[in-house]
Amino acid sequence: MSSTKSQAVVPAAVGVSWQSWVRQAAPMVLAGVAGAVIPLLRDDPNTIRLLFIAYVWVITSIAWNILGGFTGQVSFGFAVFYGLGAYTTALLITRASLHPYLAYLAGGVLAALASLVIGVPAFRLRGPYFAIATIGVSETVRVIANNLKLTGAPVGSGSSSAGRSTSSSTTTLPYSSRSARWR
């Protein structure tokens, strides 16, 4: 799994020719443009919701592929970072009334910091042992999130009300704080 993918990507990264670079980049640019233009053409909540979820899956898949595809380390613990980003963003918007876009960034930064804490010990393991350890981390964090007052325990927390009043694309924000469970 890992070898074929890395071979496909390395030539573009090294920059053998600009044509191959364009061939690699074109679908991504197209996807990006489509994501930007379609909501302008069809401004109904269902379309935006569908696109939003599709792009969330794209991002989470890319995130997983960096680790699982390129390095071959299968992790079942991505829900930890997904949930951490969601909670950070939601809490910053609702409690600190930060601007949503800044809050998204903060969520990413905090998740990256957390990945250092988890990654340094976990990467001493390889393959299936790494995979099992990440399941452990994932369930541990879920249990903690289910018990902490800060995260609203099992009921959860949401940024929907704050999101509606501060953002132009009103329908997308509520989805930024779904539950911490993602499998």
């Binding site: 799994m1 071959g72 393959g127 299936p128 981390v137 369930e139 541990t140 249990v143 903690i144 018990n147």
Partner: protein, 296 residues
Amino acid sequence: MTAAQFVNLLVAALLLAGVYAIMSYGLALAYGVMKLVNLAHAGFMMLGAYLTLEAFRRLGLDPLLGAIVTAGVLWLVGMGVYWLLVRHVPTSDEPTLPSLLLLFGVWLVLQNIGYLIWGTQDQAILTPRTLQTIRLGPVTLPVVRVLVFLVALVGLAVLHLVLGRTWFGRAVRALTQNRQASRIVGIDVGRTAMLAFGASTAFSGLAGGLLATLYSFNPDFGGPFLLRSFVIIVLGGLESFAGVALGGLVLALLETFSVLVIPAGYQLALSFGLLVVALLVLPGGLPSLFAWRRRL
């Protein structure tokens, strides 16, 4: 803590350890024979719980008897899953990533089948026995837990006999030790693997059925128990069958006595912390600790 409380907790831990050992053997068998990390274990446990519930509701079968019948049904289901899916993924001396992902997928499918058929509500199996207790001096024994422990003991005894006394058991042990050599001496690896995978799911189902009489459950049910089984077989040293029983006991003791120190909600976090620590500092499990001491 008074002495009576201590004894009560100790007994509770011992009774729990029986079920923990049963569910971990499900995982350990599949790992030993095929080097398969059976993530679908959780799904099979959930299926076992619901089948026991259905047998209880529709046929009026006693849940403990139902759990045993369920184990038989899941033996067939497991062999079917092996024949349909598992035999097609590559296996080697280390667990392979395709098999990991396949079984993770099987787990998700089973979980969603569970949601489809039985919905999202929590279910529980309540019999007149559920709340009965026996008093033995200072010790209070919940009847269900004692019975579940006895059924678990019978299951373990059967497993022990099968592994120790039959040709199938011998083949399983040989495959666990060395795949290549087993092939050379003429063991039918495919057939043994199919039977062993069936046995592994049967144990998952039995554990699921037994746990269903102790706890409430929903289609998400297996997850925490899958992870407890991981902790146990990692503690037990992935391939040692005596180690698994020991691992079950250690985890049950730790979980039971941890309620004195930390809130019960964090029990799971403790076990998974233990899992990560065990993987990092004790890759050979508890038996390696003894081996190390013997070397000195």
